[in-house]
Symmetry: C2
Subunit: 323 residues, 2 copies
């Protein structure tokens, strides 16, 4: 079994990935600066001798190298999962440094360490945000143009590009996962958590919803996402593999999500839409994904967008209610 380095190791996706890797008998070194990830998310792994956590900012290459060197000498790191990133898109619009340092420089610095230690394989959490606004066109991996409309999307694209150049020069293999919106536990941010909190704390018969409710996006449940990442890791054979990961449907509207939340935690409450077709700068109002490449590789999600939302609403509502 191999040793896996996971950057952003205390974040939403990493925790779920770590659970699966440990279940397979692999070793995990999770590195996170805990700026958004939470130590409490890792409690379940505490007793596992195959799990190690290091608190470190992954955008500092020399320190990151220092942190993982002892582990690497004992048992060479076979794969690096680059999951560190800013997850607050509006924060990155206000201050471009946020996505520079947390979305791009984490990738850049980790690649320096990967090269120095000779780690052969890299997996990268990219995003549908690299495509920008393609309206109703279902975008496939090879489609252009790539015109991200947020600094977050820009720095995800920059990261992909840097990894692609690394494949030419020193990496044996890289898998690029273009994530859609992902829902599930542990919920750190996102529309479901926001709406559940608003709905639960509302005292006047309704709650606010950003936009006009028509924004429609695809959603994947975290359980499906991690399964897809591992499936691609196990089955993609190229040196540089880019995959859209997502459900094969047209998604769910913001209104649909708000209604699911209402029906679960605030039955009968009114929905107050703020209006406009975008919630914030850099928000893509409508987005569709072509996931044919991943389907051709042999993987399909268990849940569609609506089921993913329903399950996540239930899970998060339960968690917010205190378990």
């Amino acid at each position: 079994m191999g040793t896996h380095l996971i950057t952003g190791g205390a974040g939403f996706v990493s925790v779920n990935l770590t659970r699966q890797l440990l279940a397979r008998g692999e070793c995990v070194i999770a590195v996170d600066d805990l700026s958004r990830g939470k130590l409490a998310f890792l409690d379940e792994f505490e007793a596992n001798p195959h799990f190690h956590f290091v608190k470190q900012d992954c955008s500092a290459a020399a320190q990151l190298r220092e942190c993982v060197l002892d582990f690497h000498r004992k048992d060479a790191i076979a794969e690096a999962w680059l999951l560190a990133a800013n997850s607050d898109i509006p924060a990155g619009v206000t201050d471009p440094h946020v996505d520079l340092s947390r979305t791009f420089m984490t990738t850049f610095a980790t690649l320096l360490v990967v090269r120095e230690l000779g780690i052969p394989i890299v997996h990268f959490a990219s995003s549908s945000a690299v495509y920008g606004d393609h309206s109703d066109l279902a975008v496939a991996e090879n489609n252009g143009p790539l015109e991200p409309i947020s600094n977050y999307g820009a720095m995800k694209l920059a990261s992909e590009a840097q990894i692609r150049a690394a494949v030419e020069s020193y990496l044996k293999r890289a898998n690029i996962f273009r994530f859609p919106n992902v829902v599930g536990l542990p919920a750190t941010h996102g529309i479901i958590l926001d709406l559940i909190r608003k709905a639960c704390h509302s005292s006047n018969g309704g709650f606010d919803v950003l936009g006009d409710g028509t924004q429609q996006k695809v959603y994947l449940h975290i359980a499906d996402l991690v399964e897809a990442m591992l499936y691609i890791r196990d089955n993609a054979k190229g040196r540089y593999n880019v995959y859209n990961i997502g459900p094969q449907d047209d998604g769910v509207s913001v209104r649909g999500i708000a209604e699911a939340v209402r029906d679960r935690v605030a039955l009968g409450a009114e929905l107050w839409f703020s209006g406009g077709d975008r919630g914030w700068v850099g928000d893509v109002p409508r987005f569709r994904y072509d996931t044919g490449k991943l389907a051709a590789l042999g993987w399909r999600p268990r849940m569609g967008s609506s089921e993913a939302i329903a399950r996540a609403v239930d899970e998060i509502a339960r968690e917010e209610a205190g378990g």
Copy 2:
């Protein structure tokens, strides 16, 4: 007439652009750290009251802002030409920091200043390197995938992405010029200069040529390039305009360039090819460009690849011989 900020203002393209802008009666503030650009290139503008030069590293936002603020207060900067970049691709392969700081951070920092000063229009010197290796396919602006195989190409793509996000947020307009290989004076680097120097200093009847000579690329003369940049600036109407700039032909092989050099400066010399289909990591062996979008806008180059090479070989040989 407006005031133009040019970063990398003492470089090859900037000098030729400045000459045209000044001829139109515009004002130019050229900023350059002189790491590769040369002060001597700017001698011809010294007496022009519409030209100002400031020595400054453009990747340092606060200092860059400081440098241009007085000019901006007197006469608001209307357009920023982002031409600062590392021009030594192999150096960037060895050390990724080179393209990070000189190709990407120059763009990132200049955009911070552009936003703060409210400069509405940005022009960016991008590159065919953003496409990566598409073999014989003639790539158009909207074609994907974008898979740069050098850190230089990666950081040019990162810059494009950051500018695209800025258009969504605060820029009025951005023009992205995807340059092909560009030849002409003042020559600071590149295959023609290398070959002329090798041919001139050879004392044993021949000179070395990297690769097997079959690498074929399109070349544009700098006079055509600057004309195209200004044409796009004057005529493109969108908020975010991406244009391939190049000749409408299949290019010239390395052998063809070596022969042009031989015939100009070392008649009868032998050509010694090092072999292999790439000169260095990140070198694209064959590249074709679809320039239909620029043609549709109404612009066509005066010189094809062969004429551009012939004229540049003559100009550079003359310069190397001491004028």
